[in-house]
């Protein structure tokens, strides 16, 4: 008997402060890096964000024929001010990032006894180098600056995880979750414009990557110059950002609890 987990989907929804596209992911926190040909086939380290480090592969490459009804919303605290219509980050600034799936429409009923409803997402920030820009931290205790090799022991006390190469923040699994939280410390000055790559999957109860809904997307983040340093979470910034939704992401997925494989 093995603990079975299903592929999951993810999507992203835009929010008033900062909204982007979405992507999909796996439902078990350990599946992201498991070998694709292994005993329990996993993603082999392809995390589906669509970034350069994922070779441009997104959640939608596995979760096909998505209905396109979900979205994903990112809220940065402090807010990313808009400069010339583009959200900007302050070099070195630490941000809490709250992610919310919207439009979930699959698997909202009761799955059968072998299934668990899990929504997931993955996200990363990259510059032109195709490498992680800045420092990611999960809300379950890992950080990319001190990256643990293995997935955290269960139960994971948080909505997100980082492990292995820590180049993307990943949903930690968990049933019926539609929100995730992580932190991002922007890189030092000079990194230039960065891209937030993300994906979310809204899974159903069939434990298959078929039939899920998916959203993948990107969001460009400009680097604030000294003269344009963002006013943090000032009312001005929040008010301005709230007027210009930039994107949406939503994600979810489902997985089975335990089911015999062999």
């Amino acid at each position: 008997m093995h603990i079975l987990r299903a592929l999951m989907g993810t999507s992203i929804v835009a929010s008033t402060t900062l909204l982007a596209g979405a992507a999909a992911a796996w439902d078990g926190a350990d599946l992201w890096y498991k070998q694709a040909e292994g005993a329990l086939p996993g993603g082999g380290g392809i995390l589906g964000t669509g970034s350069a480090s994922d070779h441009g592969i997104t959640c939608a490459h596995c979760h096909t024929n998505a209905a396109g009804m979900i979205d994903l919303q990112f809220t940065f605290t402090p807010t990313l001010p808009l400069v010339g219509g583009q959200p900007t980050y302050t070099p070195g600034q630490s941000y809490q990032v709250d992610v919310k799936l919207t439009g979930e429409h699959l698997g909202t009923g009761v799955c059968d006894q072998y299934m668990t409803h899990v929504n997931n997402f993955a996200a990363t920030f990259e510059g032109d180098s195709g490498k992680l820009a800045g420092v990611l931290s999960s809300d379950s205790g890992q950080t990319s600056s001190s990256c643990p090799p293995n997935v955290p022991m269960l139960p994971i006390n948080g909505t997100t995880v980082l492990y292995n190469d820590c180049r993307a923040v990943l949903a930690s699994g968990g049933e019926d979750r539609t929100t995730w939280t992580f932190s991002w410390q922007a890189p030092p000055a000079g990194a230039g414009t960065l891209t937030l790559f993300y994906g979310v999957v809204d899974g159903d109860c069939d434990m298959s990557s078929r039939g899920d809904d998916v959203k993948v997307g990107t969001l460009k983040l400009g680097e604030a110059s000294a003269s344009l340093s963002p006013p943090g979470n000032s009312r001005w910034a929040m008010a301005l950002a709230s007027l210009v939704p930039l994107g949406l992401i939503a994600a979810r997925g489902k997985r089975r609890k335990q089911a015999p494989r062999e």
Binding site: L4, E37, L40, H55, S208, P260
Partner: protein, 153 residues
């Protein structure tokens, strides 16, 4: 006639690369619409009747692998490649050497390599990467020198 390449090398060295990077259902894990097709566990499974895994609590004894096993690692989707899946994967991959003598002219390398053909924007490796070199060696006639044990695959 397909090139006489080594099936054992393919199973142990090449298949893990294409399972990981090529076999997604929206990519080469598709029965139609692609010049290259890969069957992989958890992704596309072949249309054939197989026995359900004995510990699966659901379903009949004989099931359609494609219907029940595609896109999932549950039950029969977890089962190893069938002999026909191995053969078709092997044949599909080695067919890229038809009429060629230089592996680097093969679409199996030219499409996914960074700096290669467009390939829908998906590029998996550099020419210096181990995956590229492994596929190149196999297309060039490398042999495993023994029988491959693919494990659960």
């Amino acid at each position: 006639m397909l090139p006489a390449l080594d099936m054992e090398y393919y199973k142990c060295k090449v298949e893990p690369i294409v399972d990981r990077g090529c076999s997604m259902l929206g990519c080469h894990g598709a029965e139609t619409g692609r010049a290259y097709k890969v069957y992989a566990r958890g992704r596309l499974r072949r249309k054939e009747t197989v026995s359900q895994v004995p510990t699966c609590p659901i379903g009949p004894q004989q099931v359609d692998l494609a219907d029940e096993g595609t896109g999932t690692v549950m039950c029969v989707g977890w089962s190893p490649h069938t002999p026909m899946e191995w053969q078709e994967n092997f044949d599909n991959a080695r067919s890229f050497m038809l009429g060629l003598s230089d592996p680097e002219e093969s679409e199996l390398l030219q499409q996914p390599v960074v700096g290669g053909k467009p390939h829908a924007g998906v590029h998996l490796f550099q020419k210096s990467d181990a995956d590229y070199q492994t596929i190149k060696a196999w297309l060039g006639g490398a042999t495993l020198g023994g029988t491959c044990d693919p494990g659960a695959n």
